[in-house]
Symmetry: C2
Subunit: 504 residues, 2 copies
């Protein structure tokens, strides 16, 4: 494919967390360059750090080849700091110095937001550098009629499902453990839902559903205890529960507690002050009482020691609570254990309960990408270059018809403007425009498929163990259930009424 | 292959923990039956429970087919209680009732020991039932000139290496975390060593080496802190350390503490007494002081709260410390953090340190077996039947030349007698004969290969990410590095001196 476009220099930068397939964005860029000789490619090393330190590499086939189709983001490197207004002037210098005509930003919702703002700034100041964003995050939270799936979700869900599948087989083999598995995925529960559709665990907690129902932790603990009790009555003292890492942030009492703690630490000027505050909170009961609201204090007081420590320590290290460091799975298994003890004393529960907890997260961020994500990464990189060379800016790269074979995928761009929503800015009066994280809606097809099976999975065991990702002969073109439910069905329906449509 | 043998009924029973490939032992038995029509096959369900409850299934191609080549032990089920003398009379009844002429026990070292004792009992009492044991454990601790590897080690090491590889790529991508990864594998460090040879992490702690050197935890913590400091000097504030789950049991101070706690709980008659004791230990400082030796008490006092709780809680649940429930990786990262803080204050260390801990264990026990373990499981099952039908008893099934393609493997039996060693029996004066768990010796080739690379891996990054197990086209016939170093080299050497040998 030959595009008519200007001769230019395209710079790529990786922002945010690692997501499988990101290495292949560079592969797509190189393929574009191969067909469009006028284009040259550079990369900022280690994200925003590369901008600040002017650390730029020439992207060449020779230096890139060892990274093709592999996991990680170690070819470009990354930083987790955002490309915000404080860096615009430095970036403008780099644009002029290196004659950059277009930029590809790889990242998630924050990067889409920052990409829109950067485009606006460049247009405002008359800086001739176009900007496109490649949506990449294993959290799966960029998903709507404009963009079918972000890069990396497919691989991460497959790696976690492999592990969850092994745990399900294990629980059915050892028949004595209840496994509480927390999954990465930030606020939304997309990964937990997709993994549930792949593996059929006995329970999966959907954060969005809990928030929708206005549940709090005791409700969830009770629901789990009910299933443990019912299965024990059937003679099955084993099972598996999936828990998304964003759960606590969806329960209003915990959200308030976390926010209050965040606010306390926000006023610390230095890491030394944070240390002192953490020390006070950890050692002095009345200090906590005086500094939290009565309801948050009473919640805090009910927490087991390890969770108190995690809530405070995380603040000390990073200045805010990092969801992936809160062992929600341990907290829930702890409360379920207490509830079952109560039921045992009351005589209603007679089973045995041996919980084992797990967190599947970091293992999936840098897994080798599935065939799907290899193809998607390359396609996004190629399309990103094509959009830039066509003179477009402020675009998110979009690949559609992904349930089809890659040769039939449709490629294009979406103005990020179409994705922006107005949201309250924390601590300020004015709203701000951001690209929101897409959460699960109660009308989503993947969620509804789960609901149709939920009761069955609880009591009749339908465990699936999909095994490891395969690269040859079979399984390589599998798409995620989420994609299938969301997009394949629509095609089916279109097919069903094709005759009708044609006859009009 | 047609074996001349008696017509008989063979019963199989799965003992011990799940290990990948165990399902395929039944596949091998069915293949044997297909070629030897006189043989019938039954299985005791859920290990020793099936003996007690007389829960026996007819093994048929139809019922078994859905389990072929898959992970888990859910076709037969298992129990973790041993087949010991208290069950001999019941088992004898079952032997007579079902006309069982031969038994295949699937399990690890305990099962080999129990198999030898059972054979002895049957021979003693003139009960005409032969016994063979299929050595299966992912711990890899049945390995000597008689048996090259137990079933499951290959798969487990590949699954853990996939995850460790992802973590290494992650650490090189995110460049801000130190990953402390604990690996399953009970007392010996075979799995940690094999995974290190596959993935090249910055450090791997070998329990046997620590014991050999007489190291204690501060020595290990210091060694790790040295590497963290040196890498920080190179500008690399990231890295990965592998820790075998059996580490604490190899450090004399911790071994004493664990033994003393075990002894305390051993005297509890009921679970209620254990609960009371755990409560006293957890709440009453002087109670611990009075009940532990002064040195164990002073060690206990230095431990962080979570480790104290784990040491006591585990006792409450299972009556002895379960290594897989002690978060050694957290303990070490906790002490490394303290040591680095000390060095920072002293001005020698200037880096940043963000540790994240992991435990890779249960995820690997029921993984789908690698092509190697599929073949090995089937071969062991087939050979087990052949040994029984040849009228042999008290044998461990042995497959050799495993570094070759499966069609060239050599199959046979080893009298378990040859594997028994005399060991002190805990709490008694007399020694007893047991099949010991094979630990890593300082002269083992795999260990020496690691030592030759150790320094290099610490400071120059040679991370390998082997990716998921593949079943088609490539990678399917990979053998473990441990096997390669142990056995392939010997063949090489034999080849090198073949001329010399022939000329003698």
């Amino acid at each position: 494919m030959q595009f008519e476009g200007k001769v230019g220099k395209i710079a790529v930068i990786q922002l945010g967390n690692p997501s499988p397939g990101c290495n292949n964005v560079v592969d797509g860029m190189l393929k574009y360059q191969y067909q469009n000789k006028g284009v040259s490619l550079i990369g900022f090393k280690e994200g925003t750090k590369g901008i600040i330190e002017n650390n730029v590499i020439n992207i060449t086939e020779e230096s890139y080849a060892p990274y093709r189709n592999l996991g990680g983001t170690d070819y470009l490197g990354l930083s987790d700091s955002r490309l915000q207004s404080n860096l615009w002037d430095t970036l403008t210098e780099r644009v002029h110095e290196h004659n950059i005509t277009g930029m590809i930003l790889i990242g998630a919702t924050h990067t889409l937001t920052d990409g829109a703002r950067l485009t606006n700034h460049f247009l405002d100041k008359g800086i001739k550098c176009d900007v496109v964003v490649v949506p990449a995050t294993l959290d799966g939270n960029i998903r709507h009629r404009f963009i079918q799936t972000p890069l990396g979700f497919d691989t991460a869900s497959k790696v976690y499902s492999q592990l969850i599948g092994n745990m399900l087989t294990d629980s059915a083999s050892a028949i004595k453990y209840w496994y509480f598995i927390r999954l990465m995925g930030k606020d939304p529960s997309h990964l937990a839902l997709e993994c549930a559709l792949k593996t059929h665990p006995n329970m999966v907690v959907i954060s969005e559903e809990c928030a929708f129902r206005g549940e709090n932790l005791p409700d969830i603990v009770n629901r789990i205890a009910d299933v443990v009790e019912e299965r024990a009555n059937q003679g099955k003292n084993f099972g598996t529960v999936l828990i998304p890492e964003g759960l606590l942030a969806h329960l209003s009492a915990y959200r308030h507690l976390i926010n209050e703690l965040n606010d306390l630490f926000k006023h610390c000027g230095s890491s030394h002050e944070r240390q002192q505050l953490a020390k006070n909170l950890a050692s002095d009961f009345t200090y906590i009482k005086d500094n939290l609201s009565p309801w948050s204090f009473s919640l805090f007081a009910t927490l087991p020691e390890f969770m108190k420590i995690q809530l405070i320590n995380e603040q000390e290290i990073s200045g805010s609570v990092n969801l992936s460091q809160l062992e929600t799975e341990k907290l829930i298994s702890y409360f379920v254990q207490i509830e079952l003890k109560r039921r045992k004393n009351a005589g209603t529960y007679k089973g045995s309960f041996a919980p084992v907890t797990h967190f599947f997260g970091y293992q999936g961020r840098c897994a080798h990408p599935s065939a799907f994500d290899c193809n998607l990464g390359s396609t996004l990189g190629f399309a990103g270059c094509a959009l830039l060379q066509a003179g477009l800016t402020g675009q998110a790269v979009s690949v559609k018809e992904l349930t089809n074979v890659p040769s039939k995928w449709r490629v294009g761009g979406v103005p990020i403007l179409a994705l922006l929503r107005s949201q309250p800015k924390s601590g300020y009066q004015r709203n701000e425009l951001v690209v929101p994280s897409q959460e699960i809606s109660m009308t989503d097809m993947p969620y509804q498929v789960f609901k149709a099976n939920e009761r069955d999975w609880k009591f009749v065991d339908h465990y699936c163990n999909p095994g490891p990702v395969q690269y040859a002969d079979f399984g390589t073109n599998d798409i995620s259930n989420t994609m299938e439910e969301l997009y394949l069905v629509e095609t089916d329906i279109a097919d069903q009424i094709k005759g009708l449509c044609n006859s009009i």
